[in-house]
Amino acid sequence: MPAVSKGDGMRGLAVFISDIRNCKSKEAEIKRINKELANIRSKFKGDKALDGYSKKKYVCKLLFIFLLGHDIDFGHMEAVNLLSSNKYTEKQIGYLFISVLVNSNSELIRLINNAIKNDLASRNPTFMNLALHCIANVGSREMAEAFAADVPRILVAGDTMDSVKQSAALCLLRLNRTSPDLVPMGEWTSRVVHLLNDQHLGVVTAATSLITTLAQKNPDDFKTSVSLAVARLSRIVTSVSIDLQDYTYYFVPAPWLSVKLLRLLQCYPPPEDAAIRSRLTECLEAILNKAQEPPKSKKVQHSNAKNAVLFEAISLIIHHDSEPTLLVRACNQLGQFLQHRETNLRYLALESMCMLASSEFSHEAVKTHMETVISALKTERDVSVRQRAVDLLYAMCDRSNAQQIVAEMLNYLETADYSIREEIVLKVAILAEKYAVDYSWYVDTILNLIRIAGDYVSEEVWYRVIQIVINRDDVQGYAAKTVFEALQAPACHENLLKVGGYILGEFGNLIAGDPRSSPLVQFNLLHSKFHLCSVPTRALLLSTYIKFINLFPEIKGTIQEVLRSDSQIRNSDVELQQRAVEYLRLSCVASTDILATVLEEMPPFPERESSILAKLKKKKGPGALPDVEEVRKEKNTSVNGGVEPLGASATPPSSTDLLSLSSPTSLTPASTSSTAASLLVDVFSENHVPAAPGAPLGPVADDNFSRWASSVVSLCNVRKPLGGNCESPPAHKLSPRRFVCKNNGVLFENQLLQIGLKSEFRQNLGRMYVFYGNKTSTQFLNFSPSVICQDALKTHILLQRGTALCVRGAQLQQVLNIECVSEFVEAPILNIQFRYGGMLQNIAVKLPITLNKFFQPTEMTSQDFFQRWKQLSAPQQEVQKIFKAKHSMDPEVTKAKIIGFGVALLDRVDPNPSNFVGAGVIHTKMTQVGCLLRLEPNTQAQMYRLTLRTSRDTVSQRLCELLSDQF
């Protein structure tokens, strides 16, 4: 501090501070402070007015006490009085006290604002600066409200001093950050841009910060700043450092301003004007060139400043992503940094390279540094740098180097830091999946992954393996073999056991031929690990066992023995016990054919966005550079030719639901499975498997079933191979017409509730599973569905559990049994009543039960067909309709629709191959109605002719209506 005149020394303050510093203990300090506070109180209370000096001194003491952490509840008034003083030191202390201590709701705020206004209006630049600093330091909404209009005025006024302008720009920036809604945009905005041309570099620096923030908010208003910024930048970069006044920092000309200008330019796309553009390119090249020059100083500040500008320039290059030469040069520059001594530089280089890797121009260039990056992964001492290296490897990975990178990452995983293991696991899993050409390699990789870092392999990863193995016939055998071998290890991770159990349960038969992996060996292998694992895994293994019974009837006895043992059938865990009991019963009661149906192989999973990717995204969270992430994502797909083997279709709300094993705590899946299993037994008691359209009928073991149950809605939504107009978005109320040709789908959806259906029909009987999905986060109370129908149709609700639907995502399942007594027209109505948020909700939906559901397809030869066609020649028996096609006349779609309608599609019956001919029998309780149909499309006219002949005229009429609607 400079020497002060005697009157300004504030000796009392110095003595007080030294007293406090000399205090031996906390208690002594508190005593001293109490004494001082009492003294100040008595002084403030005193009758005679204090002069400015002592006021300042006492306010200073209060401030000091406050900064020591004690409460100060007086002295504000005195501080405000100081504001109106004419002495700089007194004013300064007043402002200091106010910016530190005054809270926004105090009554004094009016007085303070008044004082600030006076100072802003004064011509004294020091006072103006003090006032501006106070506004910026407090930065509250009240301040913004009071001065949002004044500050811009000062900023753009012609006669304002440079230093005040600088403060005003920063003050405005602060107000804009804290309460952007209160700072009005006005004519000053355009004038702010011209501050970039100001003579004073301090003003330019401050203004650039302000403009950058404003430009991020409304880029259009500040477009003109680009050319100015480029001009300014080029002057700084290309100039000799003499004309930069004091703004040369360790031989680097105006580094802060350069960085800020480069940041500003990152708010905009590359300039369109060729001149500006070339000038900018020149600048960037100059910066890159400078990086190559030998350093002008050995001081760390010099290299820091230089590198700061360089990295910002590289960011800009990456942001523009338009100049291949620049990108490659940047990449090479970064490559040099990769081996730099400075850890920070290596970190930054890796981070920037990550972004470069996603540019199509520099991707190849980045790949050349792979060896360096891999060695960084191995040798780097700082974990955060290693993490960047992992990120970079992930970013630079493509089909050509995937195998190597994945191998390196797996290698690294063994020694990796615990904190980043899970992320690496996810990344390896994604890369392996994304770039897998050979799926056996994929299976190997993932199994390795589980072996190395089993604890870090999240559920999603192993769900994904199973999805892929099930969807790809070619790897199933290999997977089974590899898994079997992996399980031989004396200690294997539980996740491996889960994968193993699932895959062997599905495809164990593919390797059963080898005596080393005979059924019994497989079973014993799995069962030897059974007791070591947790309840969910055990549950999964039980399902595997029942699947084994189907796959290998020869070991049925052994498995039944295991299921019958007390440790299973009397297990204290309800879930396990139930599975054991049901599976045992199922294996005893059902014949092999039924078992084969029930325990059929899992149907392929619908293609969807990889759940692991979603998880990785979630894990990353809102990163530091979200937009860059986004860009990278887009780029990735385009660079790699959009090769996403697993398709990125609409993601269902919770992809992890898909495979969720019934957790032991929730009983829902278990009970649904029990009913399903028992139902299946009696429904299919005859050895007859209807080739029902839609999803395969075998909701097999209950893992599958619960999988299926929980995702049925999304399944139907995403893709249904046989569905007619499946891609129609879920409307508010979906037309029942959609269900004429298919049995599954979303029946109804609004903000609260989604109703999904799956149904199956056989002869005159039908069974419909209705799924109610609660889309809200609260419970529905008194949830009661009922069905109204006519005599012609008997329905009854078989199962209804729970009157309340629990939280979001939870499902309630209901089974309807339907019996067709005679032919009918009106569909039954499903009435749902429930209470949501105190309001009684009433929803009535037509159930899509139509007459054609009771069709039984009949195969017949051409001869038979025409014979019967002739028999039904009575005029009322035939109904013919000619109508215009509503959809495209794709013969495949039409075929699918006709099969979906329920009749058998007869090939080579009609002499004209483009015509479709079908036959079927409608079963009702009373009668059976034979039905023949013929559909003649006329592609030129976009017309169809539909002819139906049935033994009953009403039936023909109804069927014609139903079917003609479909085309």
């Binding site: 031996k24 203990s25 906390k26 005593k31 001293r32 109490n34 004494k35 506070l37 009492a38 003294n39 109180r41 008595s42 403030f44 209370k45 509840d73 007086f74 504000h76 105090s106 009554e107 004094l108």
Partner: protein, 434 residues
């Protein structure tokens, strides 16, 4: 078991560090400093758990004593030990201060070696310790003396050595009590208890057997049954109900359990014979009657009356009444009839001191407090008025009935021993809400 013992100064620098067990690492010293001594918020609990290590600390003026353990020890035992340690140190070099500790650090290590073995407390009797740990230079001891020490330390009566001889057999007995009170402004007792100690100083020859008797209700009632009804009625009034008590290790507990009689062979010199606590029929020596009136926002009028409530012949001493003032006090005027009163800004209180006061008297103080209006809406919490005093009787009503000394081997009888008994009642936390 205690794993280690550390002594810190007020800055948290380690003065003494003695580790007894391997499970206490070097970082334990720092852990305590960082988490307790230098903690942002004052740590009030005497037991702190840091990373599965327990720290038990006591603070004497500016010195922290901390015992460390990783095991599940008896916390009361550890604190008992720490207090004993303080007593031992005081007995050796006086006040526990940083300077004294630095000057005597060799002695302290020696003591720590002796009174703790592998974390188990050993003999911590000052008298016994002083026979073999001395502050003077090492005096070469004869073989006989050495063997005597061994037999004494390992023998049954570790607290007293043999062959003590005094020309005058003397005995001093102090009953020291502190009375704690919390009273409502209306004079209702919210809580009150007395915690007392019987401290003895004995200068007796040989191995005397002592028997101590007091007006314990259980003993009196037992005797009352045997004696006349009149006797029982008379003494019943005088007897007190002791809630709980602890004894010095010399007291034969088996005898106390069976006959409720306190018999012992006393250590030589000063020691604490017993500690006790009573909660019933406490004599409250002073009554405080506060009167606080707020006059507007800037003034407060306080009037406090104290009444002494004991025999007029007795004199209370060192009376001090502490009347808290609001935090925004800017000036105080005090008028009192007796003693001296002063506003102490550093403590935010008016302190009123009276040197002496006889029983059944009354005195009053009145003060006007000026306040500085603040923009803080917080109301003053009105802390209670506290009081300190010393009275020459036991507020619990305890009376020493007898203290008999038997020494069968030497020829002096109970009558030859000169006995002194003194009662001192002090204030503990003696507060009245206002």
């Amino acid at each position: 078991m205690i794993g280690g013992l550390f002594i810190y100064n007020h800055k948290g620098e380690v003065l003494i560090s003695r580790v007894y067990r391997d499970d206490i690492g070097r970082n334990a010293v720092d852990a305590f400093r960082v988490n307790v001594i230098h903690a942002r918020q004052q740590v009030r609990s005497p037991v702190t758990n840091i990373a599965r290590t327990s720290f038990f600390h006591v603070k004497r003026s500016n010195i922290w004593l901390a015992a460390v353990t990783k095991q599940n020890v008896n916390a009361a035992m550890v604190f008992e030990f720490l207090y004993k340690m303080c007593d031992v140190m005081t007995a050796y070099f006086g006040k526990i201060s940083e300077e004294n500790i630095k000057n005597n650090f060799v002695l302290i290590y020696e003591l720590l070696d002796e009174i703790l073995d592998f974390g188990y407390p050993q003999n911590s009797e000052t008298g016994a310790l002083k026979t073999f740990i001395t502050q003077q230079g090492i005096k070469s001891q004869t073989k006989e003396e050495q063997s005597q020490i061994t037999s004494q330390v390992t023998g049954q009566i570790g607290w007293r050595r043999e062959g003590i001889k005094y020309r005058r057999n003397e005995l001093f007995l102090d009953v020291l009590e502190s009375v704690n009170l919390l009273m409502s402004p209306q004079g209702q007792v919210l809580s009150a208890h007395v915690s007392g100690r019987v401290v003895m100083k004995s200068y007796l020859s040989g191995m005397p057997e002592c028997k101590f008797g007091m007006n314990d209700k259980i003993v009196i009632d037992k005797q009352g049954k045997g004696g006349t009804a009149d006797d029982a009625g008379k003494s019943g009034k005088q007897s007190i109900a002791i809630d709980d008590c602890t004894f010095h290790q010399c007291v034969r507990l088996s005898k106390f359990d069976s006959e409720r009689s306190i018999s012992f062979i006393p250590p030589d010199g000063e020691y604490e014979l017993m500690r006790y606590r009573t909660t019933k029929d406490i004599i409250l020596p002073f009554r405080v009657i506060p009167l606080v009136r707020e006059v507007g926002r800037t003034k407060l009028e306080v009037k406090v009356v104290i009444k002494s409530n004991f025999k007029p012949s007795l004199l209370a001493q060192k009376i001090e009444v502490r009347i808290p003032t609001p935090l925004n006090t800017s000036g105080v005027q005090v008028i009192c009839m007796k003693g001296k009163a002063k506003y102490k800004a550093s403590e935010n209180a008016i302190v009123w001191k009276i040197k002496r006061m006889a029983g059944m008297k009354e005195s009053q103080i009145s003060a006007e407090i000026e306040l500085l209006p603040t923009n803080d809406k917080k109301k003053w919490a009105r802390p209670p008025i506290s009081m300190n005093f010393e009275v020459p009787f036991a507020p619990s009503g305890l009376k020493v009935r007898y203290l008999k000394v038997f020494e069968p081997k030497l020829n002096y009888s109970d009558h030859d021993v000169i006995k002194w008994v003194r009662y001192i009642g002090r204030s503990g936390i003696y507060e009245t809400r206002c």
